[in-house]
Structure formats: structure tokens, C-alpha cells
């Protein structure tokens, strides 16, 4: 199962802070997952916004990498500072 975390304004757009799910059928990469979530939660492409960073297992990723189906995935809008 993958665990997906939405932070800041994204958790309001997605209507949830976290969700756990099996990889949807046909989804094998982070890029495909973002596309799937954008559609499923009607995010209007928010996860593809260049200002939104993606972390897999708490490490930043910049490329479209394959998913095993057991990762923690975080979507991080620009930080606000402390």
C-alpha cells in the first residue's frame, strides 16, 4: 500500500491530509500517480505545479521514477517558514 500525504494548501484542495491505497491499475510511476490523483480529487493539475515538490520516503525526487507500491509519498507546496 502507498501512503500519500498532502501538506499546506494541498490538504485543503484534496479534502484530506493523508490517504492509504494500493497503486491504481495501470499506475506505475510517480508522474502517473500525480495525474491519477489530480483527476480523482479534482485538483486542477495542482500536483503538477512546478512549485509543488514531491518526496518519496522523505527524499525529494525530481524525475519520473517507478513506484513499488509501498512508498510514503508527500506532496509539498511552497513552505511558509517558521
Amino acid at each position: 500500500m502507498i501512503k500519500i500525504l498532502y501538506f499546506g494548501r494541498l490538504h485543503e484542495s484534496a479534502g484530506r491530509r493523508a490517504e492509504t491505497m494500493a497503486l491504481p491499475e495501470g499506475v506505475t510511476t510517480i508522474s502517473a500517480l500525480k495525474h491519477w490523483l489530480n483527476t480523482a480529487h479534482e485538483l486542477d493539475g495542482a500536483l503538477d505545479d512546478p512549485s509543488v515538490k514531491t518526496m518519496i520516503n522523505q527524499a525529494l525526487v525530481h524525475a519520473d521514477i517507478p513506484l513499488n507500491g509501498d512508498e510514503e509519498i508527500g506532496f509539498l507546496p511552497p513552505v511558509g517558514g517558521g
Partner: protein
């Protein structure tokens, strides 16, 4: 020591404990950040962290500060959750043999916290609710450490 907590803290008690723990230091600098009221227009500030990631980032900044200056101790206490006007958000204190290292390292850590620390900040007030991002001045303050 780094603490990220979702309940109020007393900066006086925390600073007293830090001072006692660093009794050999010749200098202690501290910074306390609290929720600004903006002349009545702000009612609440809400901060969110990414557990694990937020603390690791602060730890990295503390490690860099320890490399750059000679410090005998550092404490960073940061609130998350909902806070009212006047409530403490962050306490940073650094202890050193001499004052310059204490001053500079405390300033450096606050610049990190204001611009790069992994927190999301939502302000609620008379004009509704909005997510806050660092100001241009915050980035300018932080950038100066590259040339100092």
C-alpha cells in the same frame, strides 16, 4: 536540542534550563518569535510540519551552524498547530564562549527557519484565511550568509 511541539511552551522556563545546561558558556543569544496581531487583523496562526522531514532539516541547519561557529549548545523549540496572538512560535538560543559566535549563529538559524524550514503557515483574521509564504526580505536576509 530540537523540539517541535503542538502545545504551548514557556520561553522563560526553556531559556533558564538552556542557560543552566550551558553554564560554561560566556555568551547566550536567544530569539523569541511570537504571533503578530497586525493591529487586530490577525486572530490565529496555524503551522503544519512534515514529521521527520521538518526536524531533519532543522538538524541539518544546526549542524551547519556548529561547523561555522564554535558553539557549546543550541536549542530550537518550534510550535505547530493553532496559536493565538502573542503566543510563542519559536525559540532559538545559542551558547558560545564568546558573544560574536552566539549572535551570528542565532541569526543564521532564524534565517533558515524563516525561509527554508519545512513548515506551512496559515493565517486567519479579519480578511479570511490565507496560506503565508516567506517575504522577499526573508529571502534577502537568508541569502546574505552565502557571502558573509
Amino acid at each position: 536540542m530540537i523540539k517541535i511541539i503542538d502545545t504551548p511552551f514557556n520561553p522563560v522556563i526553556e531559556l533558564e534550563a538552556f542557560t543552566k545546561a550551558n553554564s560554561d558558556a560566556g555568551a547566550i543569544t536567544s530569539f523569541l518569535g511570537q504571533v503578530r496581531g497586525e493591529t487586530g487583523s490577525v486572530h490565529e496562526l496555524y503551522l503544519e510540519q512534515y514529521p521527520g522531514v521538518t526536524k531533519a532539516g532543522i538538524q541539518d541547519a544546526v549542524t551547519k551552524a556548529n561547523t561555522r561557529w564554535t558553539l557549546t549548545g543550541v536549542v530550537v523549540i518550534h510550535r505547530t498547530g493553532a496559536m493565538g496572538v502573542g503566543e510563542p512560535i519559536v525559540l532559538v538560543a545559542t551558547a558560545a564562549i564568546h558573544r560574536r559566535d552566539a549572535f551570528l549563529s542565532c541569526d543564521y538559524l532564524m534565517d533558515y527557519l524563516k525561509t527554508e524550514a519545512v513548515f506551512w503557515k496559515r493565517q486567519t483574521g479579519a480578511h479570511g484565511t490565507k496560506w503565508i509564504e516567506p517575504r522577499a526580505e526573508d529571502y534577502k536576509d537568508s541569502d546574505r550568509w552565502d557571502t558573509l
